[in-house]
Symmetry: C2
DNA sequence: CTGAAAGCGCTTACAG
DNA sequence: CTGAAAGCGCTTACAG
């Protein structure tokens, strides 16, 4: 049957083979398994490839080779700069192994999980890295059922059977409380992340553990609702300012909220850290440029990406993953800056 | 010849065809050109597709159909949240037309342009959107030679023969100067972007035009070097503070630098806007949370993405693009906030 | 170490 | 409106 007449790919493997005086099989091997060829043959092919400017067609290679050399990264919100460094780490490690990277942005829309399933079902990728804290699903079907190599990073998925890499959220949150207590604070508020989020759960648990450890009744602490956004921080500030017996310190479950809160209470005339100390979480770039500079925890973002990608490569290659590797928890670093300090002695000025 | 024994795709088009009692051609048509089928046939196929959970293999479809339904977006730096909204706009428009999106992050590394060329040469995408202000090239070969549909947005590429969408950088920068002049400023500094960058060139030109328009000698203005980073802002602040006859206002070529500058001069004890007014460019989210809130220009980021993607779809479809569409320049909006105000009358305090 | 040939899973021009 | 069959451009098990 005749074919359509759209322009075809400029150079095909056949042309390279003809120019080099070898079969297409040999050209293919020269590109994928050069060690299987004799040096002179390899050289002739390499020369022909260079002269023709040949690049193998990706679709054909994927179809025939049954692997795409592409990994899907599921991100809850590409707009959050936090993920940029993680993605960079993933990309660095993946490209070392010859893999490309497809970004699936959920944009915080649950319905987009169906698209993730489709991409995988369509055979578009060899593995998936989840940064979104849950296994995507669509009408009862879940990603795990599809039998594709999987890894979760940043936001852990409790009980999952695949490798995971996260940071010590609980320990860090506890350390935040310890830091504030050591400065003399006893009335400490917690500005929460969205309900059900694993980071929120772990950081809240660490916060409570920190209080308990310091002999402070959790019932005496204030819990402010939030959702990780700047806006949640300013909203929480309004609630905070209206409180009768205001805490002298606040630990926010992330930096955006800490910054929103900081801005709003400062605008209201409170001094930081005199009237209220603030501690955030994440160590986003912006935290260095607020006034006062935010005390926070620096996450090993790049390392999270590299580690997670490395694990996925192992799974995709069928390399066994040691149990201690399969559930890693990286440390975070407390950066003590100007936003936290001793509470003003005695009462607050009118 | 026998094949390898890796697990194959769960459901193929043949199974669906068998279940529906039609040929594979009909299944294919049902999915791509449903209007060519009779309703009952379509219904039978649709039912079979649903029951089998069939999703067409992307590699096979691309190989045979000679189109991938994927667009490559070349981003200079994925870590810059500015691009997140633009990408969202692109994605919104592209997905309306059935296209997926592959992100090529240059990470400000020139050598990565070679990867862009490879992706295109490998037939991996049907079109390219450039956000990086130049046509990627590698050892003499440029992307334009590859004959792939192309569009540039955000950062224009002068003299290019493909459609472009940018904002009125020159006019906006001029308006920034007008704003400052109207407040009473006469000594105004410009904090520049990286050399050779088109945004830098246009904004600088607008700055100079604004001065000229106000009857201020350009030679009397101060030009501080920068590169669009927070750090460049703090570095420029050091230079600014050391100046003998300090300007009373500064226009930064982007918000990051404006914020870095703001933070550093504030730490040095200057009051804003009393001692120095500051105007940025872009309207990043963070600009709302610095103290004082930054006067800046809000870019129509989402619209930039939507417009650019829409143009690319036209080019890919062979739809003619009207000349006035082919070179669009969207307006930006000046947000007057607390970082700009009248200069303090008389001398500055010691 | 190298080649001939099958076949990955689809789409589409042709025929009916 | 639907089907039979070619073929997209590669890779790989088999044979030599």
């Amino acid at each position: 049957m005749s074919e359509d007449d759209r322009p075809r790919q400029s150079v095909g493997i056949a042309e390279v083979a003809a120019l080099a005086g070898v079969s297409t099989a040999t050209v293919s091997r020269a590109l994928s398994n050069p060690e299987k060829l004799r040096a002179p043959t390899l050289a002739r092919v390499a020369d022909a490839v260079r002269r023709t400017g040949y690049t193998p067609n990706v679709a054909a290679r994927s179809l025939r080779g049954r692997r795409t050399m592409v990994v899907l990264v599921v991100v809850p919100d590409i707009g959050n700069p936090f993920f940029a460094d993680v993605l960079q780490g993933i990309d660095d490690e993946l490209s070392r192994h010859g893999y490309g990277l497809l970004i699936g942005n959920l944009a915080r829309v649950r319905a987009k999980e169906a698209e993730i399933l489709e991409i995988v079902q369509a055979g578009q990728v060899d593995g998936v890295i989840l940064l979104n804290g849950r296994v995507p699903e669509d009408r009862g079907r879940t990603l795990t059922e599809l039998g594709i190599p999987l890894v979760a990073i940043c936001e852990a998925i409790p009980g999952a059977a695949f490798p995971q890499v996260e940071v010590r959220n609980r320990e860090a949150a506890q350390a935040a409380v310890q830091h504030l207590v050591s400065l003399g604070h006893r009335r400490i508020a917690y500005l929460a992340g969205p309900d059900g989020n694993i980071l929120e759960r772990d950081r809240r648990a660490g916060f409570c553990a920190g209080l308990a450890h310091a002999g402070i009744a959790v019932s005496a602490a204030s819990f402010l609702a939030g959702d990780f956004s700047f806006r949640a921080g300013t909203d929480a500030a309004a609630a905070f300012l209206a409180m009768a017996d205001r805490p002298t310190a606040l630990f926010a479950a992330n930096d955006e909220m800490a910054i929103g809160f900081l801005k709003a209470v400062r605008d209201a005339g409170l001094r930081i850290p005199g009237d209220v100390s603030i501690v955030g979480f994440d160590g986003i770039a912006f935290a260095d440029y607020v006034d006062p500079v935010l005390t926070t925890f620096r996450q090993p973002r790049h390392a999270l990406g590299v580690t997670g990608a490395g694990l996925l490569v192992k799974v995709m290659n069928g390399t066994p993953v040691a149990p201690e590797e399969a559930c890693q928890r990286l440390p975070v670093e407390l950066l003590v800056r100007a936003s936290s300090g001793p509470p003003r002695g005695g009462r607050q000025p009118p």
